[in-house]
């Protein structure tokens, strides 16, 4: 594990330069991202925040290669992704990116274990059993592996999603409002785990959230407003984030 931690704070995991994303055309065109340049250091936990409509989800989608961009470029682990074709993007997501979404993270037809291993199976990779066991035990999912998602609580489902995101050892994990649908206790568990995965396992996590408390778990907060970068907070607390947001007029 020490090897993983070694380049913390030195290597850039994900970077965007002059990112532009426009929805619609002509008069109704909306510039969701208007020249955003931002870099995310490997081995750190970053929260992207901003009021509704600030473009934070769009930024995440573009960074993760889920959506195409209208200008600028994005690097994920050294690869320029805006010029990639769908097939290569898919391969990139499958091999180097992990996701935790707000809801509907799991396939209802598969067991928790099959869901965790789904990404690896799609990539045709053999799971590292030791690593799998570590994650499962840390997340307390051992006795839930044979259950279908409908038999799991919301918090358990989100933890399964976290396990899936981490099991492939991706370059970066994107979490899109991962606690949005959870009660505060389950939410705290998930956030604790995300922070732990960064601190102890050397993972890189980028989380989109509108909850200042959730953001306070991160090492750094990137603030977005109207498609522009609007500031940064290092080592944030709930209060410092809240006041920064107020400042943005949210």
């Amino acid at each position: 594990m020490s090897a993983l931690v070694s380049d913390v704070g030195t290597r850039t995991a994900v970077a965007a330069a002059n990112l532009v994303k426009v929805y619609g055309k002509g008069d109704t065109a909306v510039r969701a991202l208007d020249g955003v340049s931002v870099a995310f250091t490997a081995g750190r936990f970053t929260a992207i925040m901003g009021p509704s409509g600030s473009g934070k989800s769009t930024l995440m989608h573009c960074l993760a290669g889920l959506d195409n961009v209208d200008g600028g470029n994005v690097h994920v682990g050294g690869t320029e992704i805006t010029s990639l074709a769908d097939k290569e993007l898919t391969k990139l997501r499958r091999d180097r990116v992990g996701f935790v979404f707000q809801a509907f993270n799991l396939l209802p037809t598969l067991t928790a274990e099959a869901n965790i291993l789904l990404g690896l199976e799609l990539a045709g990779r053999k799971p590292d059993r030791e690593w799998f066991d570590t994650i499962v035990d840390v997340l307390g999912l051992r006795d839930r592996l044979k259950h279908k998602p409908t038999e799991l609580s919301g918090g358990q489902q989100q933890r399964v999603a976290c396990a899936r995101a981490l099991v492939a050892r991706p370059d970066v994990v994107f979490a899109d409002e991962p606690t949005g649908n959870l009660d505060s206790r389950s939410g705290a568990e998930v956030l604790d785990f995300l922070r732990m995965s960064v601190r102890k396992l050397g993972q890189t996590v980028i989380m989109v959230t509108h909850d200042p408390v959730a953001a306070s778990y991160a090492d750094r907060v990137v603030l977005l407003a109207d498609g522009h970068l609007a500031g940064e907070i290092d080592n944030p607390t709930a209060d410092s984030v809240l006041s920064a947001l107020k400042h943005l007029g949210a």
Partner: protein, 842 residues
């Protein structure tokens, strides 16, 4: 409420269109059938109208009075020329002509005869039944007119000679002076040739034959009734004289019932198509209601009552049913036009496409389309009323949650069907009469089919596991996901595949039974035809000349010939065959008695005939031919075998009957061992004879197989529509499922499923569903086929089960191909949805 319904219909147009197609196809089948039936009877009626035009009185023999007073063979067989002359001289008669027909061999360009229907052309212009197309009507006895199609197929042009075979195969040469157009009737539909001669020439062909009818047209100012009264006075007793109107009425009734039989068969297939369509509709509405749980709950939240929700769903079904009915109605008219064109093209002639749309047809289209749709939507609509208002607040539930709670009721119903089915099959197999046995056992198999349909949701799991194994091994993760998807909602999958299963079951059943019958018949032919060739006559009532047998016997390559004769008694016919050929060229199986005893004045009867007439070895049977004296023959043996006549006698015994003296029915030929080109040697003798054709066992089989294949192709085509509808059902379910799973697909794409893999997943899912229906259907069809062949088997004749693996392979391959096609659109749609848009879907 109405506004909500309309808005809902607008929003879901795409989803409803596919289901509408299914129901429209069913309606099109029904209306197409009805229009075709009406068109056919209309054209028959028109044809008759041509025959009946200007007929004011018709004179026929009064059968009812003559049969009681004297034996039918002694009485007059038709209307004599003297009587015709008398009618012509009756006051008020402007013209009278005989109506008659006979089969005459027409010599084709290759020198071989083919049977043609000959009619006398009326001398009175007003009484002519046909319209001249080219040239003119024959006026001299050596002139002839042929129907237009005959002219085309036989390549005859006006001015050319046409050769007919008269009595004793005398060649009679006529000059073609004109062609005429027949309407659609049984002769033109059968593709037979049709020729017209002057009454004198017609009479000369068969001087003994008397016309069955004389028609007369009235002089101006004479009513039909006056004319009939006058003629009745003139001809006296023993004749039936009717007005033209009466005759028309009678014939109309006959014509309608004839066309009715044909349409009944088609309607049976239309019914199957509709049942399948109803299942598709039911499934669609079930899925739509499940998907709209939140929307329906929201409506309940804002104050809609259960009744309003129920009526809302039904109203949607009503609109859809009405739309589909309209499309189906017009589609059906198109189908009918197409079918008529196909029939005409088979005929080689051109006919007029008739598309009468009666009120009944329109009513049937709407009743069937709308009623079926609304009924199919009742259960889903009821389910919609059970949605609690609070459901609006919950997140959209996965449809997999409302999966088969496998009610006790379901299992009990299935057991009930199973018991009825097995009972009927066992009982049916015990029945001696094949037809009844088949009907009873057939009903039993349908009960078993119902059992499987009811059990469907329980079967999906295990069947899916078995069928999914291969794709899982071949395609990995996408196939694994597909298999999981196919099994996630067993009720939905069962309902989707059931439609296909019904179609495939019936196709497989029919195919297995037809092939089994074919093989059985083929085996029988092999056993029955040890001769290398059979020479027979192309025209059934023209026997082969006797010298042909001697000529054939003289051919050096020929080892043995055996001429056979045929003797017709009342409701029975017997074969005469030389004594020394029995057991050699002719080998029936003997069940009792001995063929060694078959000598002069004795007969060996077929087992079936023996049973029917209740005779056994030692009894005496009386064979009463139409002409000549009845003969009493002693039964010395009972034999069996398919396609055998009612009995066999020696050639010498058969010569006691005048009809057997005229010539031979067939000549069996056996070649010497090791002869290379025996066929050519035999043909050298048969070729000059216009009537003789050469058949080998192989050719007979080929002919039989061809006929059976044609019937099979017809049934495949008819059931094909049900299968097409079922495939629409699969496409429909898949489309709806894809919409329902938009977020899931997006998630998979985000996690690294490529577009191609997503498409593959949906294709595999579609193929799995199709295979579930097809595999179960095939299993059932073959099983049911076995039941039917067992039911058809009697003590005297065993029908062996033959499973046509080739055809079944074709069916399976077809199902797979169609399933891939059915998945094409949904898969395209799913793959094109962007990940972000998919995730955003509520």
């Amino acid at each position: 409420m109405l506004r909500t319904i309309i808005a809902g219909l607008k929003a879901r147009t795409a989803r409803l269109v596919l289901s509408s197609v299914a129901i429209a196809l069913g309606v099109a089948f029904v209306t197409g059938t009805l229009v075709l039936g009406d068109g056919m009877s209309e054209s028959l009626r028109d044809e008759f109208a041509k025959g009946a035009r200007n007929v004011d009185a018709s004179v026929t023999l009064d059968r009812s009075s003559s049969s009681s007073s004297s034996d039918s063979s002694d009485g007059p067989t038709g209307i004599s020329p003297e009587m015709l002359a008398k009618i012509r001289q009756t006051p008020g008669v402007a013209g009278a002509d005989p109506r008659d027909f006979q089969q005459v061999p027409l010599l084709a360009s290759n020198g071989k005869a083919k049977p043609a229907m000959a009619v006398p052309l009326a001398s009175n212009e007003k009484l002519r039944e046909f319209d001249v197309v080219d040239g003119r009507y024959p006026t001299a006895a050596d002139e002839i007119a042929v129907d237009k199609r005959t002219a085309t197929t036989a390549k005859l042009t006006i001015g050319q000679p046409v050769v007919l075979l008269g009595k004793d195969d005398k060649r009679l040469t006529f000059t073609l002076v004109g062609t005429y157009q027949q309407g659609t009737n049984s002769v033109s539909l059968s593709g037979g040739d049709h020729i017209g001669l002057t009454p004198e020439a017609f009479q000369a062909l068969q001087p003994d034959q008397l016309p069955y009818e004389v028609v007369a047209t009235a002089a101006p100012g004479v009513t039909q009734q006056q004319l009939v009264d006058n003629i009745r006075n003139a001809v006296g007793a023993g004749f039936q004289v009717q007005t033209g109107e009466e005759v028309t009425r009678q014939t109309m009734a006959q014509v309608s019932s004839q066309a009715g039989e044909f349409t009944t068969v088609l309607l049976a297939f239309a019914l199957i198509a509709l049942v399948v369509a109803a299942m598709v509709i039911y499934n669609t509405f079930t899925i739509l209601v499940a998907q709209r749980t939140r929307e329906l709950a929201l409506m309940r939240c804002v104050g809609a009552s259960r009744g309003q929700v129920f009526r809302g769903v039904l109203a949607e079904a009503l609109v859809m049913g009405l739309t589909a009915s309209v499309i189906g109605l017009f589609g059906g008219i198109g189908v009918s036009a197409l079918l008529q064109r196909v029939i005409f093209s088979f005929d080689g002639g051109e006919g007029v496409v008739r598309l009468p749309v009666s009120g009944t047809t329109v009513l049937a289209a709407f009743a069937v389309g709308t009623l079926v749709t609304v009924l199919a939507a009742v259960l889903p609509a009821r389910k919609a009323t059970r949605v609690a208002p609070v459901a609006a607040l919950r997140s959209q539930p996965d449809s997999g949650e409302e999966v088969a709670r496998t009610g006790v009721l379901r299992v009990l119903t299935a057991v009930l069907f199973g018991v009825i089915g097995v009972g009927a099959i066992v009982f049916g197999m015990g029945i001696d009469d094949e037809e009844t046995a088949m009907v009873v056992s057939g009903a039993g198999t349908m009960a078993l089919l119902a059992m499987v349909l009811v059990l469907g949701p329980l079967l999906v799991g295990p069947v899916n596991r078995v069928l999914g194994a291969l794709p899982r091994a071949l395609f990995g993760v996408p196939a694994k996901l597909a298999s999981a998807n196919a099994g996630r909602n067993p009720k939905r999958t069962a309902a989707t595949t059931a439609a296909l299963m019904i179609g495939v079951t019936i196709v497989a059943l029919v195919t297995v039974v037809a092939n089994s019958a074919k093989e059985t018949a083929n085996a029988e032919i092999d056993q029955r035809m040890p001769a290398d060739y059979t020479v027979s006559s192309v025209v059934y009532d023209r026997p082969l000349p006797k010298e042909l047998a001697a000529q054939l016997a003289a051919v050096p390559e020929v080892a043995k010939v055996a001429p056979t004769t045929v003797v017709y008694g009342e409701r029975a016919y017997f074969t005469g065959i030389p004594r020394d050929a029995i057991g050699d060229l002719f080998r029936p199986t003997v069940t009792s008695g001995s063929l060694a005893d078959l000598g002069d004045g004795t007969v060996a009867v077929n087992a079936e005939y023996a049973k029917r007439q209740n005779v056994s070895v030692g009894s005496t049977v009386e064979v009463a031919p139409q002409e000549g004296t009845p003969q009493r023959l002693k039964v010395v043996a009972v034999v069996e075998g398919q396609r055998l006549s009612d009995g066999i006698m020696t050639l010498e015994t058969s010569l006691r009957f005048p009809q057997a003296v005229e010539g031979y029915d067939s000549i069996l030929v056996k070649l010497k061992d090791g002869v290379a080109n025996g066929r050519a040697a035999v043909e050298k003798v048969t070729d000059p004879s216009p009537l003789a054709v050469l058949d080998s066992a192989a050719e007979t089989k080929e002919q039989l197989n061809q006929q059976l294949n044609q019937v099979l192709a017809f049934i495949w085509a008819l059931i094909g529509l049900a299968v097409v509808i079922a495939l629409f059902g699969i496409a429909n379910t898949l489309t709806l499922s894809v919409l329902e799973r938009t977020r899931e697909s997006a998630l998979l794409r985000a996690l690294g499923l490529t577009r191609g893999q997503l498409r593959l997943m949906l294709v595999v899912e579609s193929v799995l569903m199709a295979m579930m229906g097809a595999a179960l259907g095939l299993l059932l069809g073959v099983g049911f086929g076995w039941v039917i062949t067992q039911a058809l088997s009697t003590d005297t004749m065993a029908v062996d089960l033959v499973v046509p693996f080739g055809q079944i392979g074709v069916m399976l391959a077809g199902a797979v191909a169609a399933a891939v096609l059915a998945a094409a659109l949904p898969a395209r749609r799913a793959a094109r949805t962007s990940v972000v848009a998919g995730m955003a879907e509520a």
